[in-house]
């Protein structure tokens, strides 16, 4: 209204008398305030949560899954079958008869089509909207999760502030915020509860990966700093991390985990030459052995996401142990051999075998080691073994001119690398015999491992120990044992390198 009165935007201002100088200054002040407010808004946009509003992210038992949302009118629904498969709950359903029956331990849930209620152990619970079918898919309103599933599973359900994430079995999300100190160039990541993150740097990106811990980013106390371009929370099925984009001339000097204060502190300094970057993973000086001819090594952490592998103990699965060991192997290889290492998954995410194969083949990885923990029937021996691929021999009579003999099928891409894989497996097995198998003289094994047969580089799968043996189960999570495994594998690759790189 005031702007109209001063006649700056409407042609009718021509009829009005000239504006007094003072008033113009007030107007300028208003504009400046407006610009300031807009800048603040822009700065607020800097700290944002990057989550797909069309998906509901569910955390449950050290794993997470994004379930697509379905909008019907003004109501938001989710697909229940996908949810049940993720939660591993048995169910029966009939679209024609219009019912879904779910079993959660001793509890039974019945859903009937077009009914705005469900029956939990013969007791009706009202929902905000009726259960329905969309394109032959059963969908339920969002409140089904906390009103019904929480009770049926006997677990607490926490909802993130954004409403796009739910944690089953957690009393609340761990809230965290960032605070940027004024002059000292210190970024503080503060949690409401103890937080544990894997911190790594990729170029100018500083990443705090929270794994499968349900976290909720509540923003920043001070919104902007000239040395930070943006702070983003990426929360999806593939990532649960805070990404801090640093300015080009900023170098991370130190990262401290202030465990007693539930915080991380990042100290940064400005550098004259922005080309020189620090790497968080290499805070201690890396010994550079010699120029490595390979591009990189891929370390594959077995299983992941909803594929949990075997159970180590309550809420700890093979996928967690294999990822922890893979991270240590990466560290050991990078420091001992100065060779770049890529993890097939750096987080707890589901990845199919094809995805792992395609990523390594497309990147032309030079070496591939897949890490698994063992589960053998023998209850006394906890030996570790290296496996190479065993390609299936086609017994049908072959024509030498057939395309099969001209091209290598993708699922047999290992064929040309198999002799090298066997050498690598021999090096790995010998090192494991010495360090992990008590000096026994065990041989590596060939097997029809799906993952290995399609890899176009020397590739082995390592099966560490035997979960049937209580002594092994007790130590497999310890840093000491995992470091021993990492050192053993790094030593094996170190011995393999001169064999492979010989002229």
């Amino acid at each position: 209204m005031r702007i109209q009165q001063f006649g700056l935007v409407r042609p009718s201002c021509k009829k009005r008398p000239p504006q007094p100088l003072l008033r113009s200054r007030t107007l300028q002040g208003s504009f400046l305030s407006l610009i300031l407010a807009l800048s603040l808004c822009a700065a607020l946009v800097l700290e944002r949560v990057s989550a797909d509003p069309n998906q509901l992210l569910i955390f449950y038992k050290q794993s997470r899954k994004a379930i697509p949302k379905v909008l019907l009118g003004s109501r938001t629904y989710i697909s229940i079958i996908e949810l049940l498969v993720f939660l591993d709950l048995p169910y029966s359903e009939s679209a024609s008869a219009g019912f879904v029956r779910i079993t959660a331990g001793t509890n039974h849930i019945s859903l009937t089509k077009d009914q705005p209620q469900v029956v939990l152990n013969e007791k009706a619970i009202g929902l905000s909207a009726p259960v329905t079918l969309v394109r032959d898919k059963w969908v339920v309103p969002l409140d089904f999760v906390n009103k019904v599933l929480g009770r049926a599973l006997d677990e607490k359900v926490a909802v993130a502030g954004s409403g796009n994430a739910i944690a089953i079995g957690e009393s609340d999300f761990t809230q965290f915020s960032t605070k940027i100190a004024d002059k000292s160039q210190v970024l503080r990541v503060q949690g409401s509860r103890p937080i544990s993150a894997e911190v790594r740097q990729q170029g100018t990106r500083l990443i705090f990966a929270f794994g499968n811990t349900p976290v909720d980013f509540s923003g920043s106390e001070r919104q902007t700093a000239d040395w930070i371009r943006s702070i983003t929370m990426e929360q999806s099925e593939s990532a649960n991390q805070l990404v801090v984009e640093l300015a080009d001339n900023i170098r991370v000097a130190r990262i401290s985990h202030l465990a007693s204060q539930n915080a991380y502190a990042v100290e940064a300094t400005r550098v004259e030459n922005p080309e020189i970057k620090s790497d968080v993973a290499s805070q201690s000086a890396r010994p550079v052995v010699e120029a490595w001819k390979w591009h990189h090594i891929t370390i594959d952490a077995g299983h992941g996401g909803t594929d949990r592998g075997m159970t180590v103990r309550e809420n700890v699965f093979e996928k967690d142990v294999s990822l922890a060991i893979a991270r240590k192997v990466r560290w050991a290889l990078e420091t001992r051999l100065a060779v770049p290492v890529v993890l097939s998954r750096s987080d707890d995410q589901a990845q199919s075998l094809e995805e792992r194969i395609a990523a390594a083949n497309l990147a032309r990885s030079n070496l591939f080691i897949s890490i698994h923990t063992g589960n053998a029937p023998a209850s006394t021996a906890a030996n570790s073994f290296a496996y190479t691929a065993q390609l299936v021999v086609d017994e049908s009579p072959s024509d030498p001119k057939s395309p099969r003999n001209l091209f290598v099928p993708w699922w047999e891409a290992q064929r040309n690398s198999l002799p090298w894989s066997e050498r690598l497996a021999d090096c790995v097995q010998n090192e494991m015999n010495r360090a992990l198998n008590g000096g026994q003289s065990l041989s590596f094994r060939h097997s029809r491992v799906k993952l290995l047969s399609a890899l176009a580089m020397p590739a082995v799968l390592v099966e560490i120990g035997n979960m049937h043996v209580p002594a092994f189960q007790a130590k497999v999570e310890s840093d000491q044992f995992q470091n021993l495994v990492a050192g053993t594998l790094a030593a094996a690759v170190e011995k393999f390198r001169p064999l492979y790189e010989r002229p």
Partner: protein, 206 residues
């Protein structure tokens, strides 16, 4: 009573009897559909068509061994003999799912059911298992190998007409059973794990 009335009453009584029995049968079917079945299902979705009076024959069924030297060990069982290899094979798989009687580990999760089993003229046995074989598997590459070769060796050892075994899950080719071993091709018999352990060490260079 006139004769035609008597016939009419008898006819009505018969109709009522059929109607009542149909009603109860329908009710039972609806109950089965709506309520989950509580009693344990038989191991085989389709029972083998063997005569109960057919002679018994002894077979060797392999189970994962808890001893260090062998991955698999055999237990002796008796099945009804049949001219059809698939009918004998079904009984062997039922014994495998039923589990060891000598405290060995299960070859397959006890919830697994055999959906179908047939043998082709080329000696390929196709064993179609329910999803439980995969979803309830304890995991681990060695245990996965033990499960697969328990089935493969138990069939190839006892039925001469079976040379190779293809495992399907819910009627389709599965990638793996527990995330490691390729199930897309048939398996041949491998008795090395029943007495010999791992393969020989490779010493030859590329």
């Amino acid at each position: 009573m006139p004769r035609h009335i008597l016939f009419g009453l008898v006819f009505l009584a018969l109709i009522s009897l059929v109607g009542v029995s149909y009603y109860y049968d329908l009710q039972k079917r609806i109950h089965e559909l709506v309520r989950p079945r509580r009693e344990p299902a038989p191991y085989l979705a389709i029972p083998p068509t063997v005569s109960p009076s057919a002679p018994l024959r002894k077979v060797k069924v392999f189970f994962p061994s808890s001893r260090q030297d062998n991955l698999l060990e055999a237990e002796e069982r008796e099945i009804r003999s049949s001219e059809l290899p698939s009918e004998e094979a079904k009984q062997i798989v039922a014994e495998l799912i039923g589990g060891s009687r000598e405290r060995r580990l299960p070859a397959l999760p006890s919830e697994t059911r055999l959906r179908e089993l047939y043998v082709t003229g080329q000696g390929l046995a196709v064993v179609d298992l329910t999803q439980d074989a995969r979803s309830r598997h304890p995991g681990g590459l060695t245990m996965e190998l033990a499960s697969i070769y328990s089935v493969v060796n138990s069939l190839t050892q006892n039925i001469r007409k079976i040379g190779r075994v293809q495992i399907l899950i819910e009627g389709v080719e599965a990638e793996t059973l527990a995330g490691h071993i390729d199930l897309s091709h048939p398996f041949s018999e491998d008795l090395s794990m029943t007495g010999l352990g791992g393969t020989d060490k490779s010493t030859s260079g590329p």
